[in-house]
Amino acid sequence: MKLPARLRLSPALAPYALLLPFFVLFAVFGLFPLLFSLWLAFQAWEPTDGLAAMRWVGLENFAFALQDEWFWKSLKNTAWLAVASGVPQHLVAIPLAVFIHTRLQRLRDVAVGAYFLPYITSTVAISILFASLFSTDFGAINAVLGGLFGIDAIDWLGRPEHIKPAIAAVVFWRYVGFNVVLYLAALQTIPKDLYEAATMDGASRWQQFVHITLPGLKPVMFFGVTLSVIGGLQLFEEPFILTGGRGGSDQAGMTTAMYLYRMAFDFNDFGAASAMSWLLFALVVGLTWATHRAFRPKAGQA
């Protein structure tokens, strides 16, 4: 059935009309909050007074954030967690992907599925599960450590020195599977004849790994590391739930994303929270750029 001509979209307008739902949603849930937080970063605001109560304070919120001890503490926590959870992800995912790629035939999909499962499971469910695993007196982790090695019960989520490793372990476990899938996909794009030629030339497996596999994975490594850098700097859900939303003793598990959330909703300071979120954004941009530099082909290389 044909629509009357006046109801039909002209070909020139059709793409815009079809894209409109996305742009509307993006404007409401993406662009507006972004611009609003930028505006808020320059305001002092008692939120319960309503929107009219904002007062322009210039760069005061940024100055406050940069001199705030807790902001720097949260940045250090974030950096620690990003490194401790991010670096092992790749150091484990690459050999694991190579192993699955070369050794597993029929079990391949099962193995990949098992490693990928944590990635698609709800963070909240995972964190609640781990909170009970990490429980000092009744947790499975302490039971195993005590049973096998005779280690005294560790207060994982109560002592500042143990909170970060506990969170990093959860984050590592959660994302390593995602990276395995990433690297597996990349391994399939490396031409088989390269390995055949290398075998003919008498190269060992290790030499093949170092000189064929790793260079072949470099573009995907850049992609994966970039995602880890961005994800690591924005880490929020796992520490938030594992530490009951407060960051734990001495705020040892309070990441910057968590702190700025708390600044707004627990400590009622939306202006400073917005300023901190933009400072964090600047840091993410800077480090992504640095990652890009690090993985850029050097002069003389292909």
Partner: protein, 448 residues
């Protein structure tokens, strides 16, 4: 935020007042209550049932178990206002207060009536988003003395505006395991005479029964920093934003907490954690400094098997403190035509003896309404507390509590102090240095 409520309300896993555990028996209004309702309406001096033209629907935003308390008051409400429907919107504790903050800041989707926990009342009273109930048509000043005095003071902002009416309160008490005390050869008075006596008793309990004196050394600090506050002072900040955390009450609180830790008298578990409730179930915790309502939670769901083993005592050394409390407020931006009705609903919930007592009986919501305090229910023995008529004790405690001025940075200050206490307890940081560090952090924020 008053004592304990701070810790109790944060953990997303367990809200401070779990509704599931509360009995929810349907309850038909009795003739006696009807008479009282009429009496309350007369006392409020409000015009009779609002002139119903179009059907009116009030929305009430609340959290557990206040939402249930409001729902249970609706049969009585319908009797008074047959044409006015009431919709209760309930959210989890933290979600509710975040939603209320958002609604106030954008002036949209505001309920006609919002329930607020004491910590948020203080915070919201600093802003101008809630109606000042001293103004007409409310004129709360005329009926202010019908509530426990400190509760109304908690809802008073710096400019004197009263932004909410108190519904329930949480007078402080010391819950003790009577059986452990007996085994340790201690009399109850030895725990309450002085704080030093309390700690000494803890050592004796530890030595003779192996049980911990309390869950966390922080609990004792929380109480002591609330002891000896000068009139007009806040907990952490003075009237002129000056930081008070290096004053003697903080030093003593930290010293006593360190003493508790030094003798390993605390189980080092946080309130509302699994370890905490296990500690109660297994009799590992001999005492708990808390709001009176905890006895109900212990009895209903935390440790029902310990029935008869507990007793309630006054806080040591005559200390007074309140844990939690609920209020009802009317947002400034709510539809003007609903405000009079919303105020009448507040009257039913907070000034009606029968409603207040019903919430007390069913939900351990201790009445803020003074005229309900002479009910025989207060003298009834509580089986969970070995037949002790403890409600009378809590009633007397409630009368002695005085309100503390609220500061915008109290939530942050509380956390800074907890952090410094952890450093003192866990790493041996000198108390003077810890408090000086806290003071420096707070001074930077005092005027933000």
């Amino acid at each position: 935020m008053q004592l304990g409520a701070a810790t109790a309300t944060r953990g997303p896993a367990v809200p401070p007042r779990t509704p599931d555990a509360m009995p929810q028996t349907p309850h038909a209004p009795t003739p006696r209550r009807r008479a009282l309702l009429l009496g309350a309406a007369a006392a409020l001096a409000l015009p009779g049932p609002a002139r119903a033209t179009a059907p009116v629907r009030l929305t009430v935003a609340a959290y557990p178990a206040v939402d249930t308390i409001v729902r249970e008051a609706l049969p009585a409400w319908r009797e008074r206002h047959p044409g006015v429907a009431v919709q209760v919107v309930s959210r989890q504790f933290a979600d509710h207060h975040t939603a209320m903050t958002t609604a106030l800041s954008t002036r949209s989707h505001l309920p006609d009536l919002m329930a607020l926990e004491v910590g948020y009342v203080g915070r919201f009273a600093q802003g101008g988003g809630l109606d000042d109930l001293r103004q007409p048509p409310y004129d709360i000043g005329r009926i202010a003395d019908r509530w426990v005095p400190y509760a109304l003071a908690q809802a008073t902002g710096r400019g004197g505006a009263i932004v909410a009416a108190p519904s329930d309160i949480g007078p402080g008490t010391l819950l003790v395991r009577h059986d452990l005390l007996t085994r340790a050869g201690l009399a109850e008075a030895e725990l309450t005479r002085s704080w030093d006596g309390y700690v000494a008793a803890g050592r004796q309990i530890q030595a003779r029964t192996g049980a911990y004196l309390l869950a966390h050394a922080r609990d004792i600090k929380n109480l002591l920093i609330r002891t000896g506050i000068q009139p007009g002072e806040g907990l952490y900040f003075g009237a002129g934003h000056e930081v008070l955390v290096e004053s003697p009450r903080f030093v003593r609180a930290f010293e006593l907490a360190r003493e508790v830790r030094r003798h390993r008298l605390d189980a080092r578990v946080a309130e509302w954690s699994n370890e905490w409730s296990e500690g109660f179930k297994r009799g590992r915790l001999a005492t708990q400094l808390t709001g009176a309502w905890l006895a109900g939670h212990l009895s209903n769901w935390i440790a029902p098997d310990t029935r008869g083993l507990w007793r309630a005592l006054p806080l040591p050394e005559g200390a007074q403190a309140a844990w939690g409390g609920s209020f009802f407020a009317i947002p400034r931006g709510a539809p003007a035509g609903h405000k009079r009705l919303a105020w009448e609903l507040i009257g039913l919930l907070t000034l009606d003896r029968a409603q207040q007592l019903q919430a007390f009986r069913r939900h351990d919501a201790f009445p803020a309404l003074r005229e309900s305090h002479d009910d025989p229910f207060f003298e009834e023995p509580i089986p969970f507390l070995g037949g002790q008529p403890a409600r009378a004790l809590w009633r007397d405690a409630a009368r002695r509590i005085s309100a503390v001025a609220v500061h915008k940075q109290d939530a942050f200050a509380g956390e800074v102090i907890d952090t410094e206490l952890d450093k003192v307890l866990d790493r041996g940081k000198p108390i003077a240095v810890a408090l000086a560090d806290a003071a420096r952090l707070l001074a930077r924020r005092a005027r933000r």
